[in-house]
Symmetry: D2
Amino acid sequence: MRTAEVFRLTMAHPGDLSELERLIAGGTIRAADVTAIIGKTEGNGGVNDFTRGYFTQTLMGLLSQHLNKPAAQLIREIPCVLSGGTEGVMSPHYSVFCVSEGVAQQYPSALAIGTAFSAPVPAEDVGRRVHVESVAAAVRKAIANAGIEHLDDVHFVQVKCPCVTVARAAAAIAVGKTPLTNDPNKSMAFARAAGAFGVALGLDEIKPADFDDSSLLSDFSIQSPRASISSGVEVESNEVVVLGNSPSWGGALRIAHRPMSDALDIGAVVDVLSDLGIAAQPQVSATDAGRIACVLVKCEPDRRGRIRGSRHTMLDDTDINAQRHIRGAVAGLVAGVIGDGRIFVSGGAEHQGPDGGGLIAVIASQTRSAT
Amino acid sequence: MRTAEVFRLTMAHPGDLSELERLIAGGTIRAADVTAIIGKTEGNGGVNDFTRGYFTQTLMGLLSQHLNKPAAQLIREIPCVLSGGTEGVMSPHYSVFCVSEGVAQQYPSALAIGTAFSAPVPAEDVGRRVHVESVAAAVRKAIANAGIEHLDDVHFVQVKCPCVTVARAAAAIAVGKTPLTNDPNKSMAFARAAGAFGVALGLDEIKPADFDDSSLLSDFSIQSPRASISSGVEVESNEVVVLGNSPSWGGALRIAHRPMSDALDIGAVVDVLSDLGIAAQPQVSATDAGRIACVLVKCEPDRRGRIRGSRHTMLDDTDINAQRHIRGAVAGLVAGVIGDGRIFVSGGAEHQGPDGGGLIAVIASQTRSAT
Amino acid sequence: MRTAEVFRLTMAHPGDLSELERLIAGGTIRAADVTAIIGKTEGNGGVNDFTRGYFTQTLMGLLSQHLNKPAAQLIREIPCVLSGGTEGVMSPHYSVFCVSEGVAQQYPSALAIGTAFSAPVPAEDVGRRVHVESVAAAVRKAIANAGIEHLDDVHFVQVKCPCVTVARAAAAIAVGKTPLTNDPNKSMAFARAAGAFGVALGLDEIKPADFDDSSLLSDFSIQSPRASISSGVEVESNEVVVLGNSPSWGGALRIAHRPMSDALDIGAVVDVLSDLGIAAQPQVSATDAGRIACVLVKCEPDRRGRIRGSRHTMLDDTDINAQRHIRGAVAGLVAGVIGDGRIFVSGGAEHQGPDGGGLIAVIASQTRSAT
Amino acid sequence: MRTAEVFRLTMAHPGDLSELERLIAGGTIRAADVTAIIGKTEGNGGVNDFTRGYFTQTLMGLLSQHLNKPAAQLIREIPCVLSGGTEGVMSPHYSVFCVSEGVAQQYPSALAIGTAFSAPVPAEDVGRRVHVESVAAAVRKAIANAGIEHLDDVHFVQVKCPCVTVARAAAAIAVGKTPLTNDPNKSMAFARAAGAFGVALGLDEIKPADFDDSSLLSDFSIQSPRASISSGVEVESNEVVVLGNSPSWGGALRIAHRPMSDALDIGAVVDVLSDLGIAAQPQVSATDAGRIACVLVKCEPDRRGRIRGSRHTMLDDTDINAQRHIRGAVAGLVAGVIGDGRIFVSGGAEHQGPDGGGLIAVIASQTRSAT
């Protein structure tokens, strides 16, 4: 029976994989079991955030040594989904998702993991319908890979989508192609929208006829409460990680998710913990905190400029990028309830959960005594 | 019997006092009753944050018209304490503290307000013992002004201290004086430390022999859980606002405060609300939120680089000032519990509450039905 | 005979008009002669730069006292064109343009100044053809006001255009209007494009049939080498200042301009000085520097991501706004040639001079011995 | 006869060494000849700039493959001096310094290169006398390595010094040591000062008795016009590259240097080019630009807050680090004269050239027809 384990590790800087190295050397982690990585690095989270590439290069070099495979091959087999930006109380860390065989079943249902990669997405396709369909196909592949039978059992779909830099846009234009935009931050937003539509399509939440190119970043009634999309310059394909619960998996972990209605939705945080049998009154106890393996959050500065009627200034700030603002705020809230800054809070939640809000997913042990 | 009222008003930009204008024009506020202003403007909160000066100039111009006194005089009579930086979910707003006569007593004890101004602090004194003593004297004057008899009844002392800019430092040096530093951000930190020591001294929390110049920004066991200090280029004197409860005041408002042990201390937020008879499970209800008149928070990026054992990156970030980071995070937490972004969260909490944490004070109506 | 004078004054902060106050008090400047202000304040130059509003409020308050007219009227009569952002070696300063009567003619032709205001531009019109036409009409009015007969004698047309904030966009949408964009930085760019097209149209450089809505920020072959456009939240109308030379004006000043082909075009700087009889080998001498009254520059980060074949990183930087980058770089170059940081360098040069470059205009005395 | 060559290569991102890879693969560069790298990466240049570490890891991995030596050894043999921050018109690039044997002498004197590494510098030593002496010893070693006989023939000494992060400071304090500061940006400044003093001492410009610990960042009359110091979190030892001219070296290259008196000192730029027989009237011609192999500049925001009497705002800016400001400005000036953005402009010039200024060194071919 396949079993999923999650190791949440810290790093001293984006090139520091020493904790993973130590766990592999000590036998706690088998390098061959590493299936996916989801982490937060301390960059700015924007187009010129190279902490993600630095971490990825270091990770693939490390695994390459242990697996005796070229890094260039591993990077196409193991999704490494990094979100830059550890604003405020967030702590740089990465969660290593491992899948192994042979553990006896402990619970009726347990965390299941599946991954998939699409073909590279050309610059001129980014943020368009063809991009959406490319993501949807990869999502279905990853669900099959996880062996999850019911789409309802999928709780979180992480997709890393490529975006367009000024250079990539210029290259595409030079050969007669027309990228949607040559503004890199705009491109990242369209790529995230395409990812969210792709997840919704892959999960049958929407139908092919429900949208066209113009719906992206425009019709915000289209949304998937289970989609978490990052976008970055360092990938060329869509990389997909599907997380759900399945009776055909062993292990103690379990995942739950909740949409967040806005950036102040502390109720969603408390509720998702409650779904996993964990109380927060007002903070998770140290014992229960030990059961939490991974916290995944998407958030977004409200486009309409207001939160519950009060004006916010995130979108009008020329000094600090709006995504950095919202990540810092929502991380402050979630970390306060959890009592831990090692949480994955990622901005750019367009079409991922309610407009102006986002979503939260938590993975925790079903065993009361420890992780 | 003196009665304190607090009007929490929003602004469209730092020069927009139209809400106050409207309330004065409509007779809701008497210009002569305006005793102090505490607000958040949408600047960066640093040395080059001119939103505070802009707001103050506009405010004093407005009151000058209504009171028929020169603005230059009013600015020395009415403390206008602004903290720049509405990171994340915070909403630019200002609380107008009004004191009037003649309302009958409703509760055994109610919100009391007192203010005071010190003489100007020369650039070379900023952040030194003489600065501390100047603050302490002003605090005592403000307590007397409020008519609060027991120091225990003081819950919040807001001080705005002058700091040193490169230009002020150069001017002082030119006449043979030696400012403590010519680094403006460093100067703001020393000024805040002096303010906190001054409050502690004024409240008899510490004795004159307990510290010398070298204790500031160094001995963090010295702290006042009731001190909230801002520093800015736009003031030359220490401006003090004392808030407490007193049996000799009428009105429905009441204040409580709690120290915050660190940036994740959601318990302090829930507890201070509980002190005022307001539940947060996990969020304050809309009805109870209507009772809350003012939320005042101080916070600080932990100097030791860790929060509950996990590394944070606020102090090593060259792109975003550490104070902007921590304000955004703590505001995210507090606003999530309160359900409202119109909160005053100010960074630079050196010696103001526990090291690495800070404090929270809330003013709320004792009357259950309304504001 | 009308005579134009330019006083270049420094400020300690955006609310500091003490130099102007002193010159008025001392009789050097007659308040009634103040016709326009062009200056650099130390904000970020973006949507949330309130240094411009602060300065303007202070200026109008000062002139109001001296002219015995309400500030609200003056703000509609005296263009106050401020560009935020004194990156690098730039020094905050403002040039006061004064027009007086009665001085005898010194030179065959001299600096002429004209101003005009358009009606307010609704949020939904910003960046569209109707905005262009509104600017063009105001430009023609300002030329007439200056009494410049030949369009060739116009050397510099400064326009300040209103833009759309998130709040203004929301307000327009609420009443059924459709702003071009609700991204404030994007809106500022469209507003600047409309201003440049308006100047080109007003100067007969382009014809009404040469463009439509879609040409703005798209057809960069349309450009005016004499247009300098700023955009900001603090204005609602287009404010126009026309500068040229005219035989019907007295005084010693003269203006010249040159297009800048890119951000490295030091030749344009040297050439425009040469047009005024000033040598830079490599720097203007202290004596000649004394003849220079005002330096006005527009610049732009090259949209194609390269300067002379080498990749630049301005457009991909999430930490520092691209306009701040380019202003700092071009100001470094121009200030190095002039030997003075009191120069007006403004970003956002879309359609203002060659694509990826911009323009420079200099006003200098024709008299060799002094200012 | 040893011959020095310099290859100035571009990169698409900090992990892109493809140009070097191509030149090695094509036989233009022998991997074994690579002696040092000096480059500009597109980070923020501060404590949390990881583009330097990313580039270095990639470089050492590449050379490791070609040289069949572990990267961990190469990093202690080949100085890789990177300065983060390509503000404004600067283009990310790196100069590969190669030394080979056997070329016949072309000119009486030619570019000579020497390198050296010190032992690691403990956190508590950073910025103190023992740090200075460690640098001085390494400088002397590098001069010997270059075979330069007369100290006057040394024109540029690049040192990369370790600095202290919050984490390193905490670790030192935990074992009873006292770092000079735990403010990382302050630490970087002290490290650069120690490097500059070390160069001055190594070049006999100052004597051991001329300074003590308190002179660093305090006595700015102590300065070396040939010292270029960077500081970063990614190194633990001082890494030294000495560049000079020597009759015992072959090749066509030659180096010259000039102090820069302030950030507007365009004369120094023109003069250093003139020293190499290159005219700039006002810009270097395309032909002569082809002779220029490397441009190295150090600069500094004037600590006194003024440049030639005019106030600058770099030191009071909470949004943009002062070093980013000054790099952008000085690079704008130098690139304008050279006509090329591929220049190394590094901030933090404390004690490196005149106070408030810095220095410029240029390497160019003595052969008129080409590089």
